[in-house]
């Protein structure tokens, strides 16, 4: 075990981790950030995405100790208290949420995308989702949600 410090949603956590523990494991099993989901544990589904220094990353393939000193944002850190983020609102309103298991990962991906590119084209949105699987929605309303969120964040809707 090794004692590390993780900066998660603006707060510092000191945790004892084993060398092979992934960030996903530590988030879910040690620190109870269960909003981040596990759909494969093999870097293939995106359900476990978190923001690390602004990039959407699959936390199931990041070793926890490697995330030390980085700025980690999980789905729990997207809303401000009980005030939802416009991306979250857009996902709700457009019907982009069905079973919801892919949703945290989708929202994290969207956040990273829109922070870097406030006016993505449809193609850019779809490319950004390349590592996020959803079995419920056919991605149609997810893409709509992202378009709506982008518009609102630009102050256009």
């Amino acid at each position: 075990m090794q004692l590390i410090k993780l900066l998660i949603n603006g707060k510092e956590y000191e945790v004892a981790v084993k060398k092979n523990w992934t960030l996903l494991y530590v988030l879910r099993e040690v620190l109870d950030f269960t909003g981040t989901k596990c759909g494969c544990n093999t870097n293939d589904c995106g359900a476990c995405k978190v923001l690390i220094d602004g990039e959407a990353v699959n936390s199931c393939v990041v070793l926890a100790h490697k995330a030390e000193g980085k700025n980690i944002i999980t789905i729990e850190g997207i809303a401000e208290g009980s005030k939802l983020h416009p991306i979250q609102e857009a996902f709700i309103e457009t019907g982009a949420v069905q079973c919801g298991f892919c949703t945290p990962g989708m929202i994290i991906t969207t956040k990273a995308l829109l922070d870097q590119n406030p006016s993505p084209s449809r193609d850019e949105i779809v490319q950004a989702l390349d590592n996020n699987l959803c079995r419920c929605t056919g991605y149609v309303k997810i893409v709509e949600a992202i378009e709506l969120a982008a518009k609102r964040l630009r102050g256009e809707a």
């Binding site: 019907g95 949420v97 069905q98 929605t137």
Partner: protein
């Protein structure tokens, strides 16, 4: 109530728990933890068919932190069927918690519960098993042959199910032409992003509670109480949120084992399958081999059709009979043809277990039928849309077997509307640009609405009013993210004149909600929303009684609108629901509560027509679906936004079925594409432009005219895409999925 303008039914409404899902607050089973919880891990068979000659668990047991190890040697030996649905359900019982024989790569051998997952994983590796391998068979047609390895006593044929109308032989003999095809469809994985997971707790009173994301809490209770020999009052099954199911969570796959481990240890036990285990060791869609024969006349009239299907149920029976039975009925619901026969033979093989999956037999049957008919129409030189228009049932159509009306079937409307939206008539049928070839294709499909005719089909519900005029619903519906419970609140809101937002719901818990047959067979809207309507009407009557007394107006004069009881004669005379409920409590000292049981009175059918344009890269064999139109006859959309969502998701699944999915086995019976990396489900970038249209002509017995969509929506999808590829290349593909290798090979043969 008649002809009243609908206020909530027909609205676009986000799913009730959406805010919890977008914030990560919703607790799925894997997110739950109990004090002193143990972690469980299963040992799965590495061989396809073997007798367990020796199994030594001593090293695993000796490992510090291990609390229980179970194998066939120390577990109850009670046969069961994991797809049992109700108490006296008679289906083959071929499963045991653990057996001394393993029947596919991925079969259960042992399980461990330990203080941590790491210890459990280590313990699993310490179990020493000696297998005496038996001959194995993976192909269902091979499995039927004489001398094939016998997987269960009595042979590999589970049953033969036959149903027919008219005189097929005679009609075939008289037809102008007879066409025959052999078409095969693969086993596919449900791909719910949440894998199978369950937690069981067992307390010192002898009470077992099982938390699992499942579609049938009441049936799971029956199965668990049976295999663990516990009274039902001591078994509680709770469904926390479900992270996708699609039929894959309808059967009790891991729950009985987790329950056993909790009972043995007296501690909470959690088991979470990983993706590989979910792909290999849970359930799949039934693979099948279809032999179809059609008799058609020169003018394109389909006069007779004969189906013979060999279905691969895998190593155990589970849903074999239910799925073959369901499948055999669907094809009688779509064409005017009077002479039809369907013979289904489910067969055991040493492959992963097939079970329930979205569409429950319809995707296979319609894939085969529509691929076949596309070829038939081509051979007749007839446009496939014209062929459909000539043969599809009219709204007054009947099932030729019983001469019973279909209800209000609208496949014709679906085809007409879809063909128009897709510009079917004016679009080029094929186009070629260098190595890229484009083509269009279409297909129709149908699916049922509940289990009427097969067995009981009942949903019960309780609804009670709160003092402020809001309400609480107790519903056994297992919402899988498809929005059934949201739809229930819309129906109730409509009847009570209250905003659905103000109805709280307690869902699927054998001890907190009334009985429900389970969420399968597309019962959600047609049966359970009907139950919601019935219980709301009963509560409405009680509210009106109180209101009549409070307002001193006759009951008949009252209506419930916008949170008020109001006189239809004198709108000045009104009271808030709060006043009415409080009046009931204060004056008559009573609670306004309703409990109703709804039994489905009819078996109606939902229809759809899908149109696809594809582009095939003849150099790589890759297919891209470019454009898509899906039209569905849903009677009435209670929540159009979620009806669309169902269809859009179903198309993702259908295109996958046509092109990229399908379990692959090596020569030893091991699934080779056992990860999301290798099992290719469609990504966002692979989805076509899509237009979804609804036909809302009402289905009389449905709640506000509504009927099912979730399963039906995936049925026409794969054949529409396959037909488009066939048309693009001028090759008739008969085996799914059309992976690049298969396409390249066919192009080579063509040359």
């Amino acid at each position: 109530m008649k002809n009243k303008k609908l206020v909530y039914v027909g609205n676009n409404r986000p799913i009730r728990d959406a805010a919890l899902k977008v914030t990560g607050q919703l607790q799925y089973t894997a997110d739950m933890k109990f004090p002193h919880m143990l972690y469980a891990k299963m040992l799965f068979s590495p061989v396809a068919h073997a007798k367990i000659k020796k199994i030594d668990t001593s090293k695993a047991e000796a490992l510090p932190g291990v609390k229980a190890v179970v194998t066939y040697k120390n577990s109850p030996r009670i046969p069961y069927n994991s797809s049992m649905r109700f108490y006296e359900h008679k289906i083959p019982e071929t499963e045991y918690l653990f057996d001394d024989t393993v029947r596919f790569v991925g079969d259960r051998v042992a399980a461990v519960a330990a203080e941590s997952l790491e210890i459990a994983e280590k313990a699993i590796r310490l179990i020493e098993v000696e297998y005496e391998e038996l001959p194995a068979v993976f192909d269902p047609e091979e499995a039927l042959k004489e001398g094939a390895p016998e997987i269960h006593p009595g042979g590999n044929k589970v049953a033969e199910i036959k149903t027919e109308a008219g005189n097929v032989e005679e009609a075939l003999a008289q037809a102008d032409y007879v066409f025959e095809d052999r078409i095969t469809v693969p086993a596919i994985h449900h791909c719910a992003i949440e894998t199978h997971v369950a937690i069981a707790t067992y307390d010192s009173r002898g009470k077992l509670t099982v938390y699992s994301p499942n579609q049938n809490t009441f049936a799971f209770r029956i199965i668990i109480s049976k295999v663990l020999e516990m009274p039902m009052s001591k078994v509680r099954v709770v469904r926390p949120a479900i992270g996708g199911a699609f039929g894959g969570k309808l059967e009790a796959v891991i729950e009985p084992v987790v329950a056993l481990l909790a009972k043995m240890t007296g501690r909470p036990v959690k088991m979470e399958l990983n993706r590989r285990e979910s792909i290999v060791s849970t359930r799949t869609r039934h693979a099948g081999v279809f032999y179809i024969k059609s008799g058609v006349n020169k003018d394109g009239t389909l006069v007779a059709q004969d189906f013979r299907v060999i279905l691969n149920t895998g190593a155990y029976a589970t849903s074999a009979l239910n799925v073959s039975g369901a499948m055999s009925h669907k094809v009688f619901k779509v064409y005017k043809t009077k002479h039809m026969r369907f013979t289904a033979t489910p067969v055991y093989t040493n492959t992963p277990i097939a079970g329930a999956m979205r569409g429950y037999g319809s995707p296979q049957a319609f894939a085969a039928q529509q691929i076949h008919l596309n070829r038939v129409a081509k051979a007749l030189n007839m446009d496939f849309v014209d062929f459909q228009l000539k043969n599809l049932v009219e709204p007054d159509g009947v099932d030729p077997r019983f001469n019973s009306p279909h209800g209000n079937p609208r496949p014709l409307d679906c085809v007409t509307k879809g063909a128009e939206a897709f510009n079917w008539a004016s679009r080029p049928k094929t186009e070629e640009q260098g190595r890229f070839k484009r083509g269009i294709g279409m297909a129709i499909g149908s699916h049922g609405n509940g289990c009427f005719g097969a067995h009981r089909d009942v949903t019960a519900m309780v609804l009670k009013m709160n003092e402020d005029g809001t309400a609480t619903l107790f519903t056994g519906t297992h919402d899988m993210g498809n929005g059934t419970v949201t739809a229930e609140t819309q129906v109730i809101g409509e009847i009570l004149g209250i905003d659905p937002e103000n109805i709280e719901c307690i869902e699927a818990d054998t001890e907190a909600t009334p009985w429900n047959l389970g969420d399968y067979a597309s019962r959600g809207v047609f049966v359970s929303c009907n139950a919601a309507k019935k219980v709301a009407e009963s509560v409405r009557r009680e509210i009106l009684k109180e209101a009549a007394q409070l307002l001193e107006v006759p009951v008949e004069e009252l209506d419930l609108v916008g949170g008020y009881a109001v006189s239809t004669k004198d709108p000045e005379k009104k009271a808030t629901l709060c006043d009415v409920i409080v009046h009931g409590q204060r004056v008559n000292q009573r609670e306004i509560i309703g409990a109703e049981t709804f039994a489905s009175p009819a078996g109606v059918t939902s229809y759809g027509a899908h149109f696809a344009e594809v582009e095939v890269d003849t150099e790589t064999g890759k297919v891209k679906v470019l454009d898509y139109v899906a039209v569905h006859d849903v009677g009435k959309a209670i929540n159009p936004m979620y009806v669309e969502g169902q269809i859009e998701g179903a198309v993702q699944m259908g295109i996958g079925y046509a092109l990229t999915e399908g379990l692959e086995l090596d020569e030893k019976g091991k699934v080779t594409n056992n990860s999301f990396k290798k099992y290719h489900m469609l990504k966002a970038s692979e989805m076509p432009r899509m237009q979804v249209l609804l036909v809302e002509e009402g289905e009389e017995p449905g709640p506000f005219g509504a009927k099912s969509i979730g399963e039906c929506s995936t049925v026409p999808s794969a054949p529409a895409v396959v037909n488009a590829v066939s048309n693009a290349l001028g090759i008739d593909f008969k085996d799914l999925p059309l992976k690049p290798e298969r396409i390249l090979k066919a192009i080579q043969v063509q040359k």
